[in-house]
């Protein structure tokens, strides 16, 4: 589940003579507008123009300023303008140098050498050196920092800085996924001299990014201005970005129509589809890496037998779930969502609905009474309840009784993290790198293995192998294998990936969306006003 969207639910809290707690649910946004093909970006009539402030709206605010501590999607989508990691993704989700000028993973995948760009300056004036990189990773490793990516980089044995522009990461074990891991904002480079001199990343911002922080008023507005010393010459083109928080996405769409907003990131695909149906608005539609999934808890009695889990998988028509819950806006997905690594669906167990097989499997399991409860969060994702209802109807046809329990988002997260459910409908975050997607759930030592509730020694071995190899083709073979095993063991039923929508005025030019949800390339955008 992406921690991105905001409640469509509005809780009302009134105080009477005692204390009255009432909650009322806002009506679901009507989805009458049919999904039309998204308007394609008009080619620029003239060259890029400099100047102007882009007024951006989104439903949720970031949670804090310290890039190493953030875990929420909304925080990354703000801090990516201010801070830079060493590496990043290009438009094809390929790892490319960012603050690094070049990087090289050794053949044994046990050491990564990074050459830094020269002449990069932090917003407060300090020059970027290899000492800053070393300091950053030491800060992440320090338990006191409570850095989000501490376990991700726990495999770094030592960091060498042969000169001011070169950093060598020495690893305890081979890790072909390290370059992809270095793209996270959780590994954004901080200035050593600034932090050691008393700078507090939780209260101030001092990055190397395209924009500098001007002010942040929580739940209201984040103001950014152009970094004149940005390390890409002539970028950014905008004078600044003003990110406003508008919690209701229907109101965001209203603001776009009224032309009081230039651009918006939309979490709710239904609002995205309505924006796409609107003439006079430009919509960027990108296949998301996040995936909708039905998680079955294999540690619960009802799902201990693999045949029962398989029966559930065989009984579900994934396309029907997609059509019903998200109006067909998306596509059925393999366990790995990055297109390069996705296993062909024809090779995966029961990816085509097979009711007869489901019934046979149940018979082979001794015709048990299969009754369980699925948890779904209200409004997160917006389609969760619809998915659950459709799955409920489909499972009923093979005699499986699924009850639905809807929970407020944080209550849901609490149960989800504790693995306290028979089954859960979830929207889980994807990653361009399959190691980042799979290891944390499916390796028996992964930090979310408790949530996945399934272990397999073979999969452990394959995941370790995938990490140790740096050649993409070889990795692809390994991860295809893992996907086949996962689909067959059916701890989860992977359903579909949706689309991410950004909408804006036709005057916004030069922006390219990334499928991991990043808006980094607003640094290339310009206003044709």
């Amino acid at each position: 589940m992406t921690v991105s969207s905001k409640l469509t639910q509005v809780a009302g809290l009134a105080l009477a003579t005692g204390l009255l707690l009432t909650a009322c649910t806002a009506p679901a946004t009507p989805t009458t507008a049919p999904a039309k093909p998204a308007a394609t970006q008009a080619p620029a009539a003239s060259g890029p123009k400099k100047g102007g402030t882009l007024i951006v709206a989104r439903a949720e605010d970031m949670k804090g300023l310290d890039p190493h501590k953030q875990t929420a999607f909304a925080s990354f989508r703000s801090l990516e303008f201010i801070y830079d990691p060493l590496l990043t993704f290009d438009k094809d989700m390929k790892v490319v140098p960012n603050l690094a000028e070049s990087f090289k993973l050794s053949d044994d995948a046990k050491s990564l050498t990074i050459v830094l760009r020269k002449g990069v300056k932090f917003h407060k004036g300090q020059p970027l050196t290899s000492a800053d990189v070393k300091f950053t990773f030491e800060r992440i490793a320090d338990e006191k920092t409570a850095a989000a990516a501490r376990s991700t980089f726990a495999g770094i044995d030592s960091i060498e800085t042969p000169d001011a522009n070169t950093v060598v990461f020495k690893l305890k074990a081979p890790n072909g996924a390290l370059p992809a891991a270095l793209t996270t904002l959780n590994a954004a480079i901080l200035s050593k001299t600034w932090v050691e001199g008393g700078g507090d990343p939780a209260r101030e911002a001092n990055g190397t990014g395209a924009f500098k922080l001007v002010s942040w008023e929580t739940d209201k507005v984040l103001k950014l201005e152009r970094n004149a010393d940005f390390w890409i010459k002539d970028q950014p083109l905008l004078d600044g970005i003003e990110l406003r928080i508008i919690p209701d996405e229907a109101t965001i769409l209203a603001g776009l129509r009224a032309k009081t907003l230039d651009w918006a990131y939309l979490n709710d695909p239904r609002i995205g589809q309505r924006a796409a149906a609107e003439s006079g608005l430009q919509v960027w539609k990108a296949t998301s890496l996040s995936y909708h999934v039905l998680q079955l808890n294999a540690s619960r009695d009802v799902f201990k037998d693999v045949k029962v889990r398989q029966a559930v998988a065989c009984a579900i028509d994934r396309q029907e779930v997609l059509n019903t819950a998200s109006l067909g806006d998306g596509s059925v997905t393999s366990p790995a969502t990055p297109p390069f690594y996705a296993a062909p669906q024809a090779d995966l167990f029961c990816y085509k609905k097979d009711e007869a097989k489901a019934k046979d499997l149940l018979k082979a399991a001794g015709n048990p009474t299969v009754k369980f409860t699925v948890i779904a969060a209200t409004g997160e994702p917006p389609a969760a309840l619809n998915e659950a209802q459709n799955i409920q109807a489909q499972l009923k046809k093979v005699g499986i009784d699924m009850q639905i329990e809807t929970l407020e988002t944080t209550v849901y997260v609490n149960r989800w993290l504790a693995g306290d459910f028979d089954a859960a409908v979830a929207l889980n975050g994807g990653n361009p790198d399959p190691d980042a997607m799979f290891y944390r759930y499916w390796h028996s030592t992964g930090n979310l293995n408790k949530v996945a509730a399934y272990k397999d020694a073979d999969i452990d071995k394959l995941l370790d192998q995938g990490r140790a190899v740096s050649d993409p083709a070889a990795r692809k073979t390994i991860y295809t294998d893992i996907q086949k095993k996962l689909a067959e063991a059916a701890p989860w039923v992977w359903l579909y990936v949706g689309n991410d929508y950004r909408a804006g005025q036709p005057s916004v030019k030069g922006f390219t969306p990334l499928s991991n949800g990043s808006n980094l390339y607003l640094r290339e955008a310009w206003l044709d006003k």
């Binding site: 949670k63 009081t260 944080t410």
Partner: protein, 317 residues
């Protein structure tokens, strides 16, 4: 009079303490805490890291200890720090309150002007078509939920008129009064419509009641015009139940503000509270609810005082 006020103020203390206890307990009964809300399901944190974060925020201490340390500080005026923004809760509340207060006052004004007018209008035309129409309007006003009305207003403004007064760029009154009022008028109307309806209905029945009284008949028999009797004699007496109603409803406006601020993207107290609950930001939730409870008590006190002003019997009792 001063004794009356003192008595009322003394009752404040146990009420506020009760509210503090209830909020504190309820917040801890809801599953999921600040850390859960922060890490969400994308987390890379291990359980040990989450535990050390909990220790950092003092969430691992016994609930009673958490309560006494929080309440003790609150008595000294220190409501703690927001987990999210790292800022003092009191400062957050005071920076958001002017907007909610203004919204509430505007809604109250709209409610009083429209409600009293409609109430008098229908009362003096009892049994006519105009009365029926007015009552029907009031019924609609009561029945429309404000989140729906707010969304509808936004939809109509943006699709038909291509305007949206507030697109996340709220301007305080002190900066630009006109722009501020333009941004608040629709939210205030949304919030005030329900109040308008109930004031109109109460006014109508109260005026009708007074018009039937002996003193009204006497006034009429002295040859006074119906208009004079209604406005000069009955209206003032009819105000009493309206004041009681407004006193109660004004408190509910604060609750309604939560919904309206969310729909219209206004950074007021209601949104602060809603986000704090969603994020399990305990200090902010507790602080805001205490603050709202205090306001509620003060509003009720003001209503009682207003009652005394209009009705000498209360004043001299």
């Amino acid at each position: 009079m001063s004794r009356f006020i003192t008595q009322r103020l003394i009752v404040f203390a146990p009420t506020l303490f009760g509210v503090a206890v209830i909020v504190f307990v309820v917040m801890r009964l809801i599953p999921g805490d600040t850390i859960t809300a922060q890490i969400g399901t994308q987390t890379l944190l291990t359980d040990a890291q989450a535990a050390s974060l909990r220790a950092y925020y003092g969430l691992d201490k016994p609930v009673l200890e958490q309560f006494t340390s929080w309440f003790g500080a609150a008595l000294r005026g220190d409501l703690g720090l927001s987990v999210r923004s790292g800022k003092p809760v009191l400062g957050e509340i005071l920076s958001r309150f002017p907007l909610t207060l203004e919204l509430g006052l505007l809604a109250l004004l709209i409610g009083l002007v429209l409600g009293l007018t409609l109430g008098m209008f229908t009362a003096t035309r009892r049994g006519t078509l105009a009365d029926a129409a007015g009552q029907f309007l009031a019924l609609i006003g009561l029945a429309l939920p404000n989140f729906w009305l707010g969304t509808l207003i936004i939809l109509v403004l943006s699709t038909v008129f291509h305007i949206l007064p507030n697109s996340g760029d709220y301007t305080p009154f002190s900066q630009d009064p006109l722009r501020n009022l333009g941004q608040l008028i629709f939210p205030a109307f949304t919030l005030g419509l329900g109040l308008t309806a109930s004031i109109a209905r109460t006014t109508r029945s109260a005026v009708l009641e007074e018009l039937r009284q002996d003193y009204a008949r006497t006034a009429r028999s002295k040859g006074l015009s119906e208009r004079w009797v209604t406005l000069k004699h009955c209206f003032r007496n009819a105000l009493l139940p309206v004041i009681t109603l407004v006193g109660i409803q004004a408190g509910y406006l604060l609750g309604g503000a939560i919904v309206v601020e969310e729909v219209f993207a206004l950074p007021g107290l209601g949104r602060l509270l809603l986000n704090a609950i969603g994020q399990r930001d305990y200090a902010v939730t507790q602080g805001v609810i205490l603050f709202i409870a205090l306001n509620f008590l003060l509003i009720n006190l003001l209503a009682d005082l207003a009652y005394a002003l209009v009705n000498p019997r209360v004043r001299n009792a």
